[in-house]
């Protein structure tokens, strides 16, 4: 059974949901009734300042941009968190000092070091597996003979175990 007042609550929610749906639906319906609709190939084409579009608008970008975006995001968030942390807990001239404040600052320092450690692990991973290189190194090369060594990574950048 519903708790006391539950029925009223459900009624209210139902009326609210229905009203929200009707309002959105009514606006869409009015637009559907009065708007002119005249599609043509030119109108549905991509807009390139009046020029004939070259190729479709749906182009697949290189998937490696995804990794670049992730790396950027990591460092972006890092800066966004580091900056207020440094300003607030930095101390500096003119800021008062007390044992409580000192403890708070020490806790904040260790918190930030932990956060930075997590980021660094990701960074080392990227570095180790070549995500920072645009052109992946697939094989090693013996410096003395110039011969190609065993393959160390496949085309996707995953390391290949030594044979």
């Amino acid at each position: 059974m519903l708790a006391e007042g539950g029925v009223e609550l459900l009624q209210g929610l139902a009326i609210f949901a229905l009203a929200a749906f009707l309002m959105a639906f009514a606006v869409l319906l009015i637009g559907k009734l009065i708007r002119p609709r005249a599609l043509s190939p030119e109108k549905t084409a991509a807009y390139e300042c009046g020029e004939v579009p070259i190729g479709p608008g749906w182009v697949q970008f290189n998937l490696r941009f995804y990794v670049v975006a992730l790396v950027f995001l990591i460092f972006d968030v890092e800066i966004a968190l580091f900056y207020p942390w440094a300003v607030l807990y930095g101390g500096g001239p003119g800021t008062e000092s007390s044992p409580d404040l000192y403890a708070l600052r020490r806790a904040a320092l260790f918190d930030m070091l932990f956060f930075f450690g997590v980021i660094v692990v990701g960074f080392v991973y990227l570095w180790r597996f070549g995500y920072l290189d645009w052109v992946r190194v697939l094989t090693t090369r013996d410096e003395s003979t110039g011969e190609a060594g065993p393959q160390v990574a496949d085309l996707s950048g995953r390391p290949v175990p030594p044979q």
């Binding site: 002119p36 043509s40 009046g50």
Partner: protein, 165 residues
């Protein structure tokens, strides 16, 4: 065109809808950011604070034809530009209007006789609603043209047209 269009005789409901639609459309005629030659300078002046096209609801110059209602063809239309103008006009959503600004777009202007490269009037490419003469027209003339266009929009109706006798 819309479902309501040409479907009902002229009656109170239809004329009320007409009034509301025309009120909304005529007071927010968004022009396309589209200047071809010196007339565009006057168009920019008309959009700026001294003449203030925004008083008539037409100050929001859109950078894409998808959002534009009015194409102010401001300047000399060369043959090279003609195909682009046509394509931009095709890409504008209905209802769309064209305002030919200046002597060149009205009918070739000073290039009429010897201009081997100029289209003799933009109405050869797109249907023109309002012609604003001048070389170039002053911003006041453009405002006048815009008000004429608004009058034209307010006279539109979605009622069923009388059968031609």
């Amino acid at each position: 065109m819309g479902w309501l269009r040409n479907r009902f005789e002229e009656n109170f409901a239809i004329t009320t809808i007409d009034w509301a639609l025309n009120w909304a459309r005529s007071n927010s005629v968004w022009p396309l950011t589209f200047g071809l030659a010196c007339c565009a300078i006057e168009m920019m002046a008309a959009g700026a604070s001294r003449f203030d096209l925004d008083r008539f609801g037409a100050g929001a110059f859109r950078a894409t034809p998808r959002q534009a209602d009015l194409m102010i063809v401001a300047g000399t239309v060369t043959f090279k530009m003609a195909a682009r103008i046509r394509r931009l006009w095709e890409q504008m959503p209905e209802p769309k209007y064209v305002l030919a600004m200046g002597a060149c777009t009205v009918g070739g202007g000073p290039y009429f006789k010897y201009g081997y490269h100029v289209v003799k009037g933009v109405d050869l490419i797109v249907p023109v609603d309002v012609y604003v003469p001048g070389c170039p027209p002053r911003p006041e003339a453009l405002l006048e043209g815009l008000m004429r266009l608004q009058e034209k929009i307010r006279a539109e109706t979605i009622a069923k047209r009388a059968e031609p006798a």
